[in-house]
Amino acid sequence: MLIKEEVQHIADLARIELTNQETEKYQEQLGHILDYMEKLKEVDIASVTVSDSGTNDLENIWREDAIKTQDAINNSQENETNLIDMAPSVENRQVKVKSVF
C-alpha cells in the first residue's frame, strides 16, 4: 500500500500536477496494482543473468563519419523548420520557454 506522500512524490518526479481527489484515487489504484506485482517475489531468479532487456541480441551500430551532400542539408533545413513550427511558442526560429525560476 502506498501512502499519500509517496503518490505526491511520484507525481512530482513524473512532472504531473495532481488534485487531491486524483491523489486519493491513484493511491488506491496504484496500491492495488503494486500488490499484484508482489507475485514476482515467489520467483527464484538466482540462475538468471540480467544483462539484456529481453530483446534479440544486438550489436552496437556506428554511423559513418561522412560529409553530407548539399541536397541532404537542404532537406534537413526544411525538416528543421517543420519541426520548430510545431513548438507551442516560437520566436526567431527559437523555441520560447518560461524562465526556470
Binding site: 513524473a14 496504484l30 507475485k39 530483446t55 534479440n56 511558442s89 518560461k98
Partner: protein
C-alpha cells in the same frame, strides 16, 4: 481481398478513384457512429488514387496494394497529416516525416484514407482511453472493439478500409482483431521498423497489419518488414523463410509432419466456455488435417502479466517524458515558471490511464524500488522467453485463445484498471518474448460475437503462421 481488388483495378473493372470514393463515403458516413477515425484525409487520398489510375491507364506495372484504400493507427507518423496518438496533448500536431512502414506502403502507391482512433498513446485494451472518445464495435454498438488498435480493427471489419496498420505492445493488434472478427499480426520483435512510431514501450512495440484474411496479412507484412537504418533493433530475416526452432522444418508445410503445442497454462479457470470450445474445435481441425497435437507447458506464464505491467509502464514513463509542452503539442496557460509548465501541461492534456502508467513506471524505476521491480521483472522476462525457447525445440507452433472472453460492454471494466489489465493475459507473454503471433477468426459466440484463435510461431516464423493459418482458415470457414 487485396488480390481480387488488384485484379479489378488492372482489368479496369473499377478505377482507384472509384474505389477510394466508395471507401471514403463509408468511412465518413459511419464515423459518427463508430468513431474509428480521428482524421480523414479525402483530398490527399483522392490525389494518390488519381496517380495510380494514371499508371494503370499507361499500362505501367503496379504493386498489389497500389490504389487500395487503407488506414493508419494514429500513433504512427504520417508526413503532413495530423498525428495525435489519440491524445489531447498532440491534438494539433502535424507529423514532419513518415514512419518507415508508412513510407514503404506509400512507395507501393497505397491510398491512405486517414488516421485511426486508438487508446491514448496505445495504452488500453478497449479503446475507451482515447482523448477523442471511444470506438464502437460494429457488430454490437454497446460493446468495445478492443484496443488499443480499436479504430484499425473496426475499419477493416466494417469495410471502411481494405487493411490497416496497427501497433501491438501487449496484444493491441491481436485483441481488437479477435473482438472484431478480423486477422491481426504481431510480427517478431525487430521484423518491422519502429521508426516513426510514437514510442510507448520500446522493447515491446511492433507495427503489424490488420486485414480481412491471412493472405492479405502476408502481403502487407512482406511490404513493411525488413531492416531500417533508423531503427537499430530492426533486423533482416536470418535465413529466407526459415524460422528458428525445431530443426528440419520445411516449406511448403506438410500438416502430417507438423507438431502443434497446446500450452496448458492458456486453458485455465476464467476463460469463457464458448471461447474455449471454439479454440478446441480449431485444434481438432488441425488434427484432422494430420498435425500431431501435444500438450506443452510454459510454467512462467502466470508471472507474465506482472512482468509486463512493470516493464511497459517503466519504458512508457521514460518515452513520454518528452511530452512536456516545450517542443510540440499543447502548452498549459497561466504558469509561473518552467517546472509549472511541465506539470500543468501534463496534468491538463494527458488522460487518466496515461498518467496512471507514467506514475507506475516512475515508481518502479525510482531509487530504492528499481531492483525489486524493474530488475526483477527483466530477470523473470528472461525465464518467460526461455519457456518458449524450450517448447519450440519440440513443436513448430502453438495454438491458444487470443483473449479469455469475447468483446465486453463499454464501461464494464473501466472502474478497475487491474481487471482491464487481466484482459491481456494471453497476449503479453508473446511481446515479452519478442515472438510473432497472429489472431484469426475462429467462429462466433451464440450471440454473434467473434472469437479469436492465436497462433504463435518461433522467432521469424511469420511464414509458418501464414501457411498454417491459411489451411485452418479454409476449414474454419466450412465449420
Amino acid at each position: 481481398m487485396i488480390k481480387e481488388l488488384h485484379q479489378k483495378l488492372i482489368n479496369k473493372e473499377i478505377s482507384a478513384v472509384e474505389l477510394t470514393r466508395d471507401y471514403l463515403a463509408r468511412a465518413e458516413a459511419k464515423n459518427s457512429e463508430l468513431n474509428a477515425f480521428i482524421t480523414i484525409v479525402s483530398d490527399s487520398a483522392l490525389r494518390q488514387a488519381v496517380a495510380v489510375d494514371r499508371k494503370i491507364k499507361n499500362n505501367e506495372e503496379i504493386s498489389l496494394i497500389a490504389g487500395l484504400p487503407c488506414s493508419i493507427k494514429d500513433v504512427i507518423m504520417t508526413e503532413g497529416i495530423r498525428t495525435t496518438a489519440a491524445s489531447k496533448i498532440l491534438e494539433n500536431y502535424i507529423a514532419s516525416y513518415d514512419a518507415t512502414s508508412v513510407g514503404k506502403i506509400k512507395n507501393a502507391k497505397a491510398v491512405i484514407l486517414g488516421k485511426n482512433n486508438c487508446d491514448e498513446f496505445a495504452m488500453g485494451g478497449s479503446n475507451e482511453n482515447s482523448g477523442f472518445g471511444p470506438v464502437k464495435n460494429p457488430l454490437d454498438l454497446e460493446r468495445v472493439p478492443g484496443g488499443s488498435s480499436g479504430g484499425s480493427a473496426v475499419s477493416v471489419a466494417a469495410d471502411l478500409a481494405v487493411y490497416a496498420l496497427g501497433t501491438d505492445t501487449g496484444g493491441s493488434v491481436r485483441q481488437p482483431a479477435a473482438f472484431c472478427g478480423v486477422v491481426g499480426l504481431k510480427p517478431t520483435y525487430g521484423a518491422v521498423s519502429r521508426h516513426g512510431l510514437i514510442a510507448m514501450a520500446s522493447s515491446l512495440d511492433q507495427i503489424g497489419p490488420l486485414t480481412k484474411n491471412i493472405e492479405d496479412a502476408k502481403i502487407i507484412f512482406d511490404i513493411i518488414k525488413g531492416k531500417d537504418k533508423f531503427d537499430s533493433t530492426s533486423q533482416e530475416f536470418p535465413i529466407s523463410n526459415q524460422p528458428t526452432g525445431r530443426t528440419g522444418f520445411q516449406f511448403p508445410i506438410n500438416f502430417k509432419k507438423l507438431k502443434i503445442g497446446i500450452p496448458k497454462e492458456y486453458f485455465v479457470k476464467g476463460i469463457d466456455t464458448e471461447v474455449e470450445s471454439a479454440v478446441r474445435e480449431v485444434i481438432k481441425k488441425a488434427e484432422a488435417l494430420g498435425a500431431e497435437i501435444v500438450e506443452v507447458s510454459l510454467p512462467y506464464t502466470e508471472y507474465a502479466l506482472a512482468v509486463y505491467y512493470i516493464i511497459q509502464p517503466a519504458e512508457a514513463s521514460a518515452n513520454l517524458a518528452r511530452f512536456d509542452g516545450i517542443r510540440y503539442g499543447k502548452r498549459a496557460e497561466a504558469t509561473e515558471n518552467l517546472i509549472e509548465v511541465y506539470k500543468k501541461t501534463r496534468a491538463e492534456f494527458l488522460g487518466e490511464e496515461v498518467k496512471r502508467r507514467i506514475m507506475l513506471g516512475t515508481y518502479t524505476l525510482s531509487a530504492g524500488y528499481f531492483d525489486a521491480y524493474y530488475k526483477k521483472a527483466n530477470a523473470v522476462r528472461k525465464l518467460i522467453k526461455q519457456d518458449f525457447t524450450n517448447v519450440f525445440e519440440s513443436v513448430d507452433l502453438l495454438i491458444t485463445p487470443t483473449t479469455p472472453t469475447s468483446a465486453f460492454k463499454l464501461g464494464e471494466k473501466t472502474s478497475d484498471p487491474l481487471t482491464m489489465y487481466l484482459e491481456d493475459i494471453f497476449t503479453v507473454p508473446i511481446n515479452l518474448a519478442g515472438l510473432p503471433a497472429m489472431s484469426m477468426p475462429a467462429g462466433q459466440t451464440k450471440s454473434g460475437l467473434p472469437i479469436g484463435v492465436q497462433l504463435i510461431a518461433p522467432w521469424f516464423g511469420e511464414d509458418v503462421l501464414f501457411e498454417v493459418g491459411e489451411e485452418l482458415e479454409r476449414v474454419i470457414r466450412n465449420m
